[in-house]
Point group: C2
DNA sequence: CATACTATTTATCATATGATAATTTACTGG
DNA sequence: CCAGTAAATTATCATATGATAAATAGTATG
């Protein structure tokens, strides 16, 4: 990289005017600089995975590479910051209430929810970073799956049970969850096909959500019918 | 790595007997050595992604790193070989016939198929390598998705149409495929949760497949009913 | 305006990594 | 059994990469 940086240094004195230097050393507050670095890291890592180099991150952030180490003691700690930036604050607290608002049918409630939720996660940066994180055995991804299960899928199971006139038992079994995971996972895969693999799929997200929900609702209805006919 | 290999060399003369030397320079045929290297690369890459080093691959293969370059001109060409090893030969030609054998119901046919098929792909090595490959924009993954669509999903759409007494039209629309992709993607995500994230999910693969298929079959039935009631 | 503080850069290290050239050693055919 | 061929190793390069120490330069305060 000496070969790469040297010509630039040689070039600098040759510049005719000094009123427009390439980067006049912007001096930012600790917090602002930190956020710029994390943002640059998010973008690089989402493209290359977490093997993206600190030098590339620094370049994107418009700073030199050693400065990065004044804000993060190691690359791994920067990765932690990236995890937080990407995973946190993706949940709208209003959803908690909306999902159990029985003025609407389960279909309508979860249709609206998933249409908003997919606006958040059907994003190349999120999809790629979370894929890389899961392949790295990042525990944050386990935590995230837990959140999905507790905040979305278990409520779905419970609300559907109530809608079908079944038990109001709070506990949700692993078996009951499986069907919701199939639906949720199918949607995630749709997002991957569309935004990562860039396959030519339907771009009517609402229609896909509707189908996914219908599949789940029909299955639970059919399972109930079967149980009742068998006594 | 000099530090790592040197003690071994020093150790060799000290060994009391020469009938079990650490690695007496096995001399293999071009083909056999090539396969050992690819196998080692598959294993390493499935753990670390394609950034795994050629030195680590060589170590796993029990050879020195430069030897690798007598078989593959570059790391990228080794990666290509890994793609082939992992993606190819996963398809049992008998499946082509089994999927359109109308002696069995669509449910039974595809239940049997997916139970065999998941034996092939629900494998940490395959799941991880294919995830890494898709994040690398490897065109082989696009090709693989195409194969899935042509060999599994389009037949499923056609066979289901026939079973429901609908048209025997050969062409399958993007919209019709969406539902099968939701089901297939849900199953893939189940495999990921179980074998990559190592989440405590049902290990009754057959039951999960059955649920996924039921969801699809119920949806297509419901969609047909809806069309007929609307005229 | 001088001074202190700290954000930022320059210079540098140790190691890792893909790749190549030269040397050595195992097997095989005559 | 010996020589030639090719498999395998040793030595080495150039560059990339995470990380640190010292020097430099904005900015705010007295």
């Amino acid at each position: 990289m000496d070969i790469k940086s040297e010509p630039e240094v040689v070039n600098k004195p040759q510049s005719l005017s000094n009123d427009k230097p390439p980067t006049p050393r912007r001096r930012l507050s600790r917090d602002a600089r930190m956020q710029e670095i994390v943002q640059a890291a998010v973008e690089l890592f989402s493209e290359t995975g977490f093997d993206g180099s600190t030098r590339d991150i620094a370049q994107r952030a418009g700073i030199t590479q050693p400065l990065l180490y004044r804000y993060f003691p190691s690359k791994e700690s920067l990765i932690e910051a990236v995890y937080e930036k990407v995973y946190l604050d993706r949940w709208n607290p209003e959803w908690d209430i909306a999902l159990v608002n029985r003025d609407l049918s389960v279909k309508e409630r979860f249709q609206r929810f998933y249409e908003e939720y997919t606006l958040t996660i059907f994003d190349p940066v999120w999809l790629r970073i979370s894929s890389f994180a899961s392949l790295r055995n990042a525990q944050i991804h386990d935590w995230y799956n837990h959140v999905v299960q507790e905040m979305i899928l278990k409520p779905l199971v419970r609300e559907r049970r109530i809608e079908l006139g079944g038990s109001t038992e709070f506990l949700v079994s692993k078996e009951e969850l499986e069907a919701t995971w199939l639906m949720h996972g199918g949607l995630l895969e749709y997002g991957m096909r569309r935004f990562i693999l860039e396959i030519d799929v339907t771009n009517d997200t609402g229609a896909v959500i509707s189908q996914a929900l219908d599949m789940y609702l029909l299955l639970t209805q059919a399972q109930l019918d079967q149980r009742q006919s068998q006594g």
